[in-house]
Amino acid sequence: MDWLEQELKRALERKEPSPDFAARVSAAARRGRWGSPRRWMAVAASVAVLAGGGVGYRWREGVKAKQQVMLAVRIAGGKLNRVQAHVLEVTQ
């Protein structure tokens, strides 16, 4: 990383919200209040997209693909190790 990227990391460090943020969120969650109807509908639309199929499906597919990669690499690496072990055996 060069100087600009280091500065960007510093500038974009995570910041905490206001001290009472967590309490407000917990209270709102318990009340089940969502704010203005327009905002509620926008949130509901986001939820429908995120939770209905998009994020869940992609997440599961991604996890499956990752598991297959790890399995394939494990087998390939293991077999390569085995071949190398044979060579060591023969040459020693």
Binding site: V63, A76, V83
Partner: protein, 177 residues
């Protein structure tokens, strides 16, 4: 007739060029296997999967780095309850593809004691690695690995020692299995 000729020519051309991705059609072996692994991951799937690898986990970060030069991973691995399910003809169908000029066998080991053969082939073009093939055959097991692209063999080998599979350390006079 024209279509047949075209297909034959195309097939011939592919063989001459030494395809990076091998034809590994072993469904009939899969049907007879007691355990089978069949993984086919093309470039798009690998890129998608890479996004799910955790860069902060050392192993996953190493796998992620390994994937940067790779555009395909294909693994066929079969275990059988008895000997004699796979034949030399099965191995030859793979070896025939690896006789193309771009492929070179860098390791070939045969153990008459336990009937195991193990071969590693590398594909090169313009002095750059473009493919890897590993064939390991035992009486009750057959594994073919084909990786398309450039792969760091040391890193791949290192990863073979993780995931709960101990890395093989051989001392003089000691059998590996």
């Amino acid at each position: 007739m024209k279509t047949i000729v075209t297909l034959l020519l195309w097939g011939g051309l592919a063989a001459t060029l030494g395809a990076q991705q091998l034809q590994l059609n072993f469904e009939y072996l899969a049907a007879k296997a007691s355990a089978a692994v069949d993984v086919s991951l093309n470039g798009a799937t690998l890129q998608f999967a890479a996004g799910f690898l955790n860069g902060k986990d050392p192993q996953e970060a190493q796998v992620k780095k390994l994937l940067t030069g790779i555009t395909g991973i294909y693994v066929k691995s079969y275990e059988f309850k008895t000997d004699g399910v796979w034949t030399q003809a099965d191995l030859e169908r793979v070896r025939n593809q690896l006789r193309a000029p771009q492929w070179s066998r860098i390791i070939g080991v045969k153990s008459t004691e336990d009937g195991e053969t193990a071969e590693v082939y590398v594909r090169s073009e313009n002095q750059k690695m473009t493919g890897l093939a590993i064939l390991v055959a035992e009486p009750k097991e057959l594994t073919v690995v084909n990786i398309v692209g450039s792969v760091d063999l040391n890193s791949l080998s290192e990863l073979g020692g993780h995931f709960g599979v101990p890395k093989l350390e051989v001392t003089p006079g000691q059998k590996s299995k």
